[in-house]
């Protein structure tokens, strides 16, 4: 199993419990869409999964290994919601550095092809300092599609990416998942999730209130938006 999250709790302070007993898993060839309102703990869950925050309760395994091990880290890649990128590097150098970290050789031809597909032809030798917000996000996506890890975690990375590139992303992420890999895709864009996700998980107030496949969601609720609204309303009423 590429990802298993087992009874995970997390609190930033003694008074502020953010995650409550969260358990979820992602199978091979699967894209899991993670949704939930702002402040529900999605980013915290992702950070705990990737060991960017220390696990306080429960256990997490990536590709069968504990998330704090080097092999788990090499099996996963994280695209963060902020565009905190090294502005002193060019796009190509950023990808070289990422490939260096994962000990993978960089294929310049593939790189140029990706840049062209994402409407950034010839920009790989420009400093990231000169990239727009959307271009930085696309660069992060290219890194993920070139490195092809067992688990790819995407946290709101699509914000600010143009419609044409979102279409290309949908195709690429599907290809990635069909190739024996898994993706955890956190997004508020239900349209994209409905196009690419296999499963959906709903996180509200730090608790995982739903995990199921998209077909059953469409059958039982009509669409993702209706599912989210129903759970948010029922949690608000409690």
């Amino acid at each position: 199993m590429p990802l298993t999250v087992d009874h995970v709790d997390y609190a930033y302070t003694l008074q502020k419990q953010v995650l409550h007993d969260v358990s979820l898993s992602i199978s091979e060839n699967t894209i899991l869409g993670l949704i939930g309102p702002n402040g529900s703990g999605k980013s915290t869950l992702i950070k705990v999964i990737l060991d960017l925050l220390q696990t306080q309760g429960g256990s997490i395994r990536i590709d069968g290994q504990l998330n704090s091990t080097r092999s788990a880290k090499v099996s996963s890649i994280y695209l963060s919601s902020n565009d905190y990128l090294p502005e002193f590097l060019t796009g190509e150098e950023y990808l070289r550095f990422m490939h260096g970290l994962y000990a993978e050789p960089l294929d310049l031809e593939v790189l140029e092809n990706h840049f062209a597909r994402y409407s950034m032809s010839g920009r790989h030798r420009d400093l990231i300092e000169d990239y727009s917000h959307g271009m930085r996000k696309k660069l992060q996506l290219i890194a993920a599609f070139m490195l092809k890890r067992r688990l790819t975690v995407i946290d709101e990375t699509l914000n600010g990416v143009d419609i044409e590139s979102v279409g290309i992303f949908e195709k690429d992420v599907r290809d990635l998942a069909n190739d024996g890999r898994s993706v955890l895709l956190c997004s508020h864009d239900f349209g994209v999730l409905e196009n690419v996700a296999d499963d959906v998980a709903v996180l509200i107030q730090g608790a995982l209130v739903f995990q199921g496949d998209l077909d059953s969601v469409n059958r039982d609720y009509g669409n993702l938006s209706a599912l989210a609204s129903e759970y948010i309303q029922s949690m608000g009423a409690e």
């Binding site: 060019t90 950023y94 550095f97």
Partner: protein, 475 residues
């Protein structure tokens, strides 16, 4: 232009800086803030006592105060330009501060003026610290009547000079916008200021000699630079202050008129070195350092000085290389994205080693030609070795300052607080050890142990920052 917007923006900048300075690194802890304030106050008091005792010993009861004050007055231009160059370089890096105000309903002019006001207030704080000791001890020795002399000879000329430099800077910025070179101002502005310094330096020296001669020969010394002092002597303080107020009003109006209407983002990095080295961690750390504009400025300064020394036959060990080592202050923060962009983590000591080694690579690259020039001038290799030791120590200390007081978003105040505290501690240790008359070998051992402590605290600091990011410990 609304005055209220300027004041609000000015307050926003100060709030940001104070929260950034006091919220990160060592100063995040209240205990450390109190200790830091205590060290600064003790340092300032010590500075005052030293200044008072030295002046009482050498100048007390003599009539040397007048010429000393005249020399101080004449050299105000030079010293203020040095301080202004430093402030400019630091504040050019604080470009991101300006971005804070972009979504606020303020015009570019209001934004620029609020920033100028903010910058001036920072300069005022530093000036009080630097000139305060001299002013206080002079007044203590010569009586309250001397306050007038200090005001017209130091404080008023400093303020006017600062304002004049600000107008010149904004005019320069406008010129660069017209020439489409504004994005490169991070590099061009320090170069032009350095050119100003090289012109002012011989002039200040010459005038100092003229003042000394005039004093010995009993002649009156007249210079346009002493305008406030001469006005006060001939017509009274009120006229000097009136002229100062009128001049300041005119210059501030000039600043308002000269401030650029458009904001041009600054280019912060320049592409040098081949892309291939980004594959390795040390290579990427080296790129951070080599590509930042402040490194380029420092390197050009070093080469310019080496060339100047060569042409003017100034034979000195290459201590100018120390200028490169101060880049260490930004080394930790600038390389932060390399540590944050992936979940793959490396131990703190490995990252620290990369930070220090990249600086050593830069230093050696610059040192080779500079030392070659020194050797060609006849300086012994044995005279160059202490320079290497001094620079290595400087790299370690400035890296520690950058870790303990991380200048996030290029905020210059953190660098200043860290540098002031470090200078006070280093001077105390150096002077203290001097009293012990230690043998050179013992001194070398003591300084090596101190450097090992610096390395140890840097690694511990990095480890702690990482644990804070992971919320393992409270900040």
């Amino acid at each position: 232009m609304r005055l209220e917007s300027i004041v609000l923006l000015f307050r926003l900048f100060w709030t940001f800086i104070l929260r950034r300075v006091l919220g990160r690194g060592l100063l995040a802890s209240r205990m450390m803030r109190i200790t830091g304030a205590f060290i600064v106050i003790i340092g300032f008091a010590g500075f005052n006592v030293l200044s008072y005792t030295v002046m009482r010993q050498y100048l007390g009861g003599t009539d040397l105060f007048e010429p000393v004050l005249a020399i101080a007055n004449v050299s105000v231009g030079f010293w203020v330009l040095i301080a202004y160059t430093l402030i400019r370089v630091l504040f050019l890096k604080a470009d991101e501060l300006l971005k804070l105000s972009f979504n606020l309903p303020a015009t570019n002019k209001e934004r620029t003026l609020a920033f100028a006001l903010f910058e001036a207030s920072v300069v005022a704080v530093i000036t009080v610290f630097v000139f305060g000791a001299f002013s206080i001890s002079t007044v203590l020795l010569e009586g309250p009547a001397f306050i007038t002399n200090i005001v017209v000879s130091i404080w008023l000329p400093v303020a006017s000079m600062y304002l004049l430099l600000s107008v010149a800077y904004y005019l320069l910025e406008r010129g660069l916008i017209v020439m489409r070179l504004a994005r490169l101002r991070g590099l061009l502005v320090p170069m032009i200021l350095a050119l100003g310094l090289s012109v002012l330096f011989p002039y200040t020296n010459e005038q100092t000699a003229v003042i000394a001669e005039s004093f010995i020969e009993g002649r009156d010394y007249v210079s346009p630079l002493l305008v406030y002092s001469m006005l006060e002597k001939n017509f009274g303080l009120w006229l000097a202050v009136l002229i100062f107020a009128a001049a300041s009003t005119a210059i501030v109006a000039g600043i308002v008129a000269a401030a650029p209407r458009a904001y041009v983002p600054l280019r912060r990095f320049i592409v040098v070195l081949p892309s291939r080295i980004a594959t390795w961690r040390l290579g990427a750390y080296t790129l951070v350092l080599f590509r930042s504009f402040e490194t380029l400025v420092a390197v050009i300064f070093v080469f310019a000085f080496a060339l100047f020394a060569w042409l003017q036959h100034i034979i000195l060990p290459p201590y100018v290389l120390a200028l490169i080592t101060f880049q260490g202050v930004y080394a930790y923060v600038n390389s932060e994205p390399l540590r944050r962009m992936s979940a793959l983590r490396f131990s703190a000591w490995k990252n620290y080693l990369s930070i220090v080694c990249s600086q050593l690579i830069l230093w050696v690259t610059v040192a080779i030609p500079v030392v070659a020039v020194s050797l060609a001038q006849g300086i012994e290799v044995s005279a160059c070795l202490p320079v290497a030791g001094f620079c290595l120590s400087n790299i370690l200390i400035s890296t520690l300052i950058g870790i303990a007081f991380p200048p996030e978003k290029g905020n210059p105040f953190t660098v200043l607080v860290g540098a002031v505290l470090a200078i006070i501690i280093i001077l105390t240790i150096a002077l203290g050890l001097n009293v012990f008359n230690l043998k050179p070998v013992v001194s070398a051992v003591v300084y090596s142990v101190l450097n090992i402590l610096v390395v140890m605290y840097s690694i511990l600091g990095m480890r702690r920052m990482e644990r804070i990011q992971r919320h393992e410990v409270a900040s």
